[in-house]
């Protein structure tokens, strides 16, 4: 069983409320849920939509079509009716859609009128829509009461009651006028209830769980969600969340905080990251741990600010002048995002380097229904020179040469030892030098030795599918879900596999899993990317010498959708 709803309308018409409440409702009702938002860069007006699929099995991607279209305005009908499934329905209100629509698929509910009759404020049309949807789906209204409060700013009992009354009116009206549409069996989940979580929350949660104490950033869509989440928890977790005057300041503040002894993070999108690249290079030479969330949107420049793309991979890989180590993770689900954020903090501090979580608007804003994350799987190790390690320590050099290239990381003020760091090339003490031998030793320590060890830390890519496949689909980052579902779908017909990378750089070694052999043996390999220039395929080639047979690219600012992608892959099989 699987059912999709698309809600379309202008910004300001309550799409987020309707979609948000429904998604939560379905999860609480025991369904698996996946939701996706498509919105314009404006606060009011324009055309946006919110899409929710619920089912009795794990969902991980956007569907091209839907069973129910909730049209809050006339353009929604025009733009979206052609993607309605057979037997699908369009729920609308004559009053907001320019009069009565002809056709069997239309479910005409006088939402505005119902709200007016109850003397409720106009904004409550959203709750009326929700009531009508639930009625049409033959689901009970009662759970709505426990959810709506979380989505309105003034959560008084009276307002909740009023919303419920409005929803109920629409519910009753819809029940009275339309048969319930599909028979939606409430799925029973084996274990605990699921979370409904998006990528931003997962990264934020990962930061909390990893001892992040400082987050500095400048607002930028689609990265702001992480900051909002952490700011909401800051008081409880003892975190300083600082809105910097610009992104240059944000990363330099994070480096200052990290130097001073706490785990620090910053987040931004491509344009903001561009401004951070000098600071990134500073993290590199000073060996200051920092975690950077780079949440992509289509560029260049302002581009399509509220849409999605995977077009900053090579920029993040090569950003910053000079040569220094870094790690890049590109999670594909909130679950990966959570654990990889934790691993990011772990590696950043262990190796004293910048580590990236590269996300995008799609991962940031889509919601997955997932089982609880397991705190026991977290890395929670403190690598600083603290407490007992300081006792009797005779001397301290911030950049002492060591076998591993990793020098002890002391906290200024914790002992009498001074912590001296420098953006110039420096000696073991952190003081400026210019001689060639010291320079060589520092490059070896900072770059070569650490990179060699870092490689060992990277997990192999995931492989789903046949042992000797005819074709392998290759992907990375946020496309995970749609690739997996597409390959699963095609697996009925073809010997096909999915090779998926979320730990991007350094590239995984072959010891545990020789994925290069797998690729070389497959007659067809297809790299699928949400960008125009196949950036991952180029990294893959550079690292493994394997060139994929076919490249599938999408760069219109929209994510891959399941059925379309299946078709595109199919064309190469």
């Amino acid at each position: 069983m699987e059912y999709s709803i698309r809600i379309g309308g202008e910004a300001g018409q309550g799409l987020q409320l309707i979609g948000g409440v429904l998604a939560k409702y379905f999860v609480r009702a025991g369904f698996y849920v996946f939701s996706h938002q498509d919105y314009m860069s404006r606060v009011r007006g324009g055309h946006n939509f919110y899409q929710i699929t619920f089912a009795d099995r794990l969902l991980e991607s956007v569907r091209d079509t839907y069973d129910l279209l909730v049209a809050l305005d006339l353009p929604t009908i025009a733009l979206h009716r052609h993607q309605l499934n057979n037997q699908g329905h369009i729920l609308y209100d004559q009053a907001s859609c320019g009069g009565k629509q002809e056709g069997e698929e239309f479910l005409d509910i006088p939402l505005a009128l119902l709200v007016e009759e109850l003397n409720a404020p106009r904004v409550m049309v959203s709750s009326a829509s929700i009531g009508a949807v639930l009625a049409v789906l033959d689901l009970p209204l009662a759970p709505f009461q426990g959810i709506i409060g979380d989505f309105i700013s003034k959560k008084t009992e009276e307002i909740v009651a009023s919303n419920y009354a409005v929803a109920n009116a629409a519910f009753v009206y819809a029940r009275a006028h339309y048969d319930t549409i599909p028979s939606v069996p409430v799925a029973t989940l084996a274990d605990a209830p699921l979370m409904l979580i998006n990528g931003s929350q997962a990264i934020g949660l990962g930061a909390l769980a990893s001892g992040c104490k400082f987050y500095a950033a400048y607002p930028m869509t689609p990265a702001t969600g992480i900051m909002n989440y952490i700011a909401g928890k800051a008081a409880k977790y003892g975190i300083v969340v600082e809105q910097a005057e610009d992104e240059i300041s944000a990363i330099n503040m994070a480096l200052g905080a990290s130097y001073a002894g706490v785990r620090a993070m910053t987040g931004t999108s491509g344009g903001g990251f561009a401004l951070m690249t000098e600071g990134l290079s500073l993290a590199g030479i000073t060996e200051t741990p920092v975690v950077i969330a780079e949440v992509q949107r289509p560029g260049p420049a302002t581009g399509l600010p509220t849409r999605t793309e995977q077009s900053d991979l090579l920029f993040v890989l090569h950003g910053g002048h000079g040569e220094f180590p870094r790690v890049i993770f590109a999670p594909g689900t909130p679950e990966q995002a959570f654990y990889l954020t934790n691993k990011a903090f772990h590696l950043a501090e262990k190796y004293q380097i910048p580590v990236f979580i590269q996300s995008d608007q799609y991962l940031a804003d889509c919601q997955w229904s997932l089982a609880d994350f397991d705190s026991r799987l977290l890395y929670q190790e403190d690598f600083r020179l603290r407490g007992e390690l300081l006792v009797g320590l005779e001397s301290y050099q911030r950049y002492a040469y060591t076998e591993s290239g990793i020098s002890p990381l002391a906290i200024p003020g914790d002992s009498e030892h001074l912590v001296v760091v420098d953006s110039d090339e420096h000696d073991e003490d952190g003081h400026i030098i210019e001689d060639a031998p010291t320079r060589n030793l520092m490059v070896e320590k900072r770059l070569f030795k650490k990179m060699a060890l870092l490689r060992e830390e990277i997990s192999p890519p995931l492989y789903y599918g046949e042992h000797n496949p005819q074709a392998i689909v290759v992907g990375y980052g946020s496309t995970f879900g749609v690739l997996k579902e597409a390959v699963e779908h095609l697996a009925g017909e073809f010997k096909i596999g999915l090779l998926y990378f979320s730990e991007i750089y350094p590239f995984p070694l072959l010891e545990q899993f020789d994925y290069v052999a797998l690729l070389k043996e497959a007659p067809v390999t297809i790299c699928v990317e949400n960008n125009a220039t196949s950036q991952f395929a180029r990294v893959l080639h550079g690292e493994t010498n394997h060139r994929c047979t076919y490249l599938i690219n999408k760069y219109d600012g929209r994510p891959f959708t399941l059925q379309t992608l299946i078709g595109e892959i199919h064309a190469y099989l």
């Binding site: 909390l208 001892g211 706490v262």
Partner: protein
Amino acid sequence: MLTFDDYKGQQPSWCPGCGNFAILNTLKKVFVDLAMQPHQFTIVSGIGQGAKLPHYTKCNTFNGLHGRTLPVATGIRLANNHMTVLALAGDGDCYGEGGNHLIHAIRRNINVTLLVHNNQVYGLTKGQASPTTPQGRVTKIQPSGSLSEPLNPLAMAISLNCSFVARGFAGASGLPFLQEIIKEAIRHEGFAMVDILQNCVTFNKVNTFHWYKERAYELEAGYDPTDRVEAFRRSLEWGERIPTGIFYRNDRPSYEQGLTVLKEDPLVKQALFRKDMSAELAQLH
């Protein structure tokens, strides 16, 4: 008891006669006077001649990027508000490349002491006009003379309601006074800016040590540094007579004081990890 010699650092690489030596020595005296243990304070600096200073004394040091001292200093203070933090920058560093950070550090009132080595020129990069370079000054890049109005850092800081605004002069006659000003600035709870007139023997042949010496004078006893408009008026004085001293101060709360998470302990002293995330997970159900 720490003495002057306890603050000896690396060998300075400045030109003989450079005003930076006087600033360095004055700072060391301040450290002695305030009995500041080297490990109890951090100097953040950028890139420029003055910015090399922390290497020439003993302290925790973050010698970062050109123009970015204040964000780093802010991050340090927010992570550890028990640490005394000084930021040292050149006039190019702080008023040019880093101008935006100055505005916002002042607005925050973060408890950092900013010392600007203001030699009215880009020293390290060999003599270009800085934001404080007088109009008409000829350089290689400005062969017909610099055209911009020089920035008046004191006036700007006062306009932003900076909680401590001062000017010192790094010439022998001005050093005891400079020492007092810096001490006050460090003691001040909130953002304190001290613009220090410093000669550059190599690239600024006009605003020499003697040029400053002839002009610099101390704000009169009885001057009221709490009157913002009057402070503004005095900050405009420049030319034959150049006032030094504490122009303006107010006691608005520091940024750190406003942050509830810092009420008990600095971040760096707080618990590191929290295993139990169940409350946050439950909220997502």
